[in-house]
């Protein structure tokens, strides 16, 4: 590791990963009980990416997010209860029930919102980077997107512009191998999205996205470069979603062996073992951490379920300012 982490930092990273996992499992459960309107795109399995990247950011740094965004929100420091309330369409949610699962934002922690149009967050991240540059703050923007988004024109436009203007943006490609049901190998003639960085004269790194320490290390390097005026980087994190693309998807297009191999490399299981092995945590401490997080998630569910729906006529508010 280029950037050593304190014990407290490592435990906090595990905690955030557990928050995401338990939260997503609970969302799935609530969905099964017909308590979640619409659809859901669960982040479970990809926790190491959001947590690794956000652990290298300050609170006043920005992130942009995607339709699969719950994990980004949690990792950046948004409150579980208000995320859950938003997913349930409640008035107490971050967006007062107007956004739902695919459009959560918490500007107070630099979470500039999830856009559900694939590839649309990249130009917005460029703009947030431009804003920091013009205001001469040293804020950095991390931009999450999937490998599917890397085939949108906005990927090319955004990396080119961020590179030309040396903007403080870290482009984080969460490569979970499938754009909905379409396997990457069927629609791209390269294996590593990070190779595309060369086309923009920026650093590109490809790494195990289930290894939160590797993600943190690569991200910290890219963040430092961006903060010091060195411009953008592209980090590709190979990862895998535990469930299908969205609620209706049993993901039958994924070969059984592939699923099993990835589940065996589960990011939380791996990190927990690492922390137990190096003595950071004892089994008892791990267990009590898990209980604490599970309780926190339960509290979030309780808050969300008990919260009122917005009054119907609130649908007319917030169109203009």
């Amino acid at each position: 590791m280029t950037f050593p982490l304190s014990k407290a930092q490592r435990v906090q990273m595990l905690r955030k990963m557990l928050e995401i996992r338990f939260f997503e499992e609970k969302v799935f459960e609530l969905y099964g009980q017909n308590l979640v309107p619409g659809t859901i795109h669960l982040y479970a399995g990809e926790e190491a990416v959001a947590v690794g990247v956000c652990s290298s950011l300050r609170q006043d740094d920005y992130i942009t997010s995607t339709h699969r965004g719950h994990g980004h929100c949690i990792a950046k420091g948004a409150e579980l209860k208000r995320i859950m309330a938003e997913i349930l369409g409640k008035k107490t949610g971050y967006c007062k029930g107007k956004g739902g699962s695919m459009h959560i934002a918490d500007f107070a922690v630099g979470m500039l919102g999830a856009t559900a149009v694939v590839g649309a967050g990249l130009p917005i991240a460029v703009g947030a980077g431009l804003s920091a540059k013009l205001k001469k703050t040293d804020q950095v923007t991390a931009c999450f997107f999937g490998e599917g988004a890397s085939n949108q024109g906005t990927f090319h436009e955004s990396l080119n512009l961020a590179s030309a203007w040396l903007l403080p943006v870290v482009f984080v490609c969460e490569n979970n191998l499938y754009a909905m049901g379409t396997r990457q190998s069927r629609i791209m003639n390269i294996e590593n999205i990070s190779e595309r960085a060369a086309a923009y004269g920026i650093n590109g790194e490809c790494l195990d996205g289930n290894d939160v320490l590797a993600v943190f290390d690569a991200s910290q390097k890219a963040v430092n470069l961006a903060r010091n005026g060195g411009g953008p980087s592209l980090i590709e994190c190979k990862t895998y979603r535990r469930r299908g693309h969205s609620r209706v998807d049993p993901a039958k297009y994924r070969p059984k062996e592939e699923v099993e191999a990835w589940l065996a490399k589960d990011p939380i299981k791996w990190f927990k073992q690492t922390l137990l092995a190096d003595g950071t945590l004892s089994p008892a401490e791990t267990q009590s951490l898990e209980l604490e997080v599970a309780d926190e998630v339960e509290q979030a569910v309780k808050f969300a379920l008990e919260s009122p729906y917005p009054a119907p006529e609130e649908a007319l508010d917030d169109v203009y300012g």
Binding site: C95, G99, A105, V126, G127, A128, Y320
Partner: protein, 324 residues
């Protein structure tokens, strides 16, 4: 007060707003020192404010607007130029799905004070990809405001309002308006959104016209005056918000309305204005509403073809006479 062109009036607003507020900056293709904008609106601004605040971009419309959105939601006031209105199609996701909806879908947490300036309009023989009038596309997107200035005075005041406001504004200009001259105060001022201007008072018929069509409507009105017809010409100045009251009050007085707009007829600006009057003031109408618009075709190249499909003084006069 001095006589300056519509182009200079826009530039004056940009200059004054950039001097007044350091969060205002410009971005777009060829708007800087080398060119000063395809229609020269931004000429000289890079010299005064530097390349950092007058940013030449690559030909990446989607990211020009998207970068504007990202900057706007993090505290800046960007003014993006799209070289031709037709090219806004390339940035439609960022305009319609992102800029317009960010405030709403995030429950009012964010403002997106982004201004998108772009020229529309036919009349200079540059065919289907550089001549359309697409204002109606943007009227159809809740969350956007749409400004359509027809005079140098309105151009300057509306642009200042657009930049100072907290909503995304689609600011429509017209190629043939850039050289038009008018009286414009040198000092800063704003023209409010949602307040129509009665460009000519009259009692026999209401003509609602926008952008370059305002000038054609005024010529038609002047010609009809010699025949004893008294035409009122109303310029909404902004399509969103739209000043329904001024239009309806005029119709109550005249009992007749012609809407003149350079966009296509179907589902266009004229359709919206006509429906509002039909819905809210039909009892005051003494005859059918007439619409004078471009034909429902792409814009053709050859001069006689182009002239044929765009409204002119004669087609406006004809429509007015049909309902008198």
């Amino acid at each position: 007060m001095g006589r300056i062109t519509y182009r200079e009036a826009l530039r004056q607003a940009l200059r004054q707003e950039m001097r007044r507020d350091s969060s205002v900056f410009l971005l777009g293709e060829d708007i800087g020192k080398c060119w000063g904008g395809a229609f020269k609106v931004t000429e000289g601004l890079a010299e005064e404010f530097g390349d950092e605040r007058v940013r030449d971009t690559p030909i990446s419309e989607s990211t020009i607007i998207g970068a504007g959105v990202g900057a706007a939601i993090t505290g800046m006031r960007p003014v993006a130029e799209i070289m031709f209105g037709d090219l806004s199609a390339l940035a439609m996701d960022q305009i319609a799905n992102q800029a317009a909806k960010i405030r709403y879908m995030f429950g009012g947490q964010a403002s997106c004070p982004l201004v998108i300036r772009t020229p529309f309009g036919a009349g200079v023989n540059i065919a289907s990809h550089h001549s359309q009038s697409l204002e109606a596309w943007f009227m159809h997107v809740p969350g956007l405001q749409v400004a359509v200035p027809s005079t140098p005075y309105d151009a300057k005041g509306l642009l200042a309002t657009a930049i100072r406001g907290n909503n995304p504004v689609f600011f429509c200009e017209h190629k043939l308006l850039y050289p038009i001259e008018g009286e414009v105060p040198e000092e800063e001022y704003t023209v409010p959104f949602g307040v129509a201007d009665v460009k000519r008072k009259g009692s026999d018929v209401t003509v609602v016209a926008t952008m370059y069509m305002v000038h054609k409507a005024l010529k038609a009105a002047a010609a009809l005056e010699n025949e004893g017809v008294n035409v009122e010409v109303i310029d909404p100045r902004t399509l969103t918000p739209l000043d329904k009251k001024t239009i309806i009050d005029s119709v109550k007085k005249t009992g007749r309305m012609v809407v003149v707009s350079e966009d296509c007829k179907t589902a266009g600006v004229s359709a919206e204005i006509a429906s509002i009057v039909a819905e809210e003031a039909i009892d005051y109408l003494d005859s059918a509403i007439k619409r004078v618009t471009a034909a429902d075709t792409p814009i053709p190249f050859s001069p006689p073809l182009e002239q044929y499909i765009i409204p002119n003084e004669q087609t406006i006069i004809k429509a007015i006479k049909e309902i008198l």
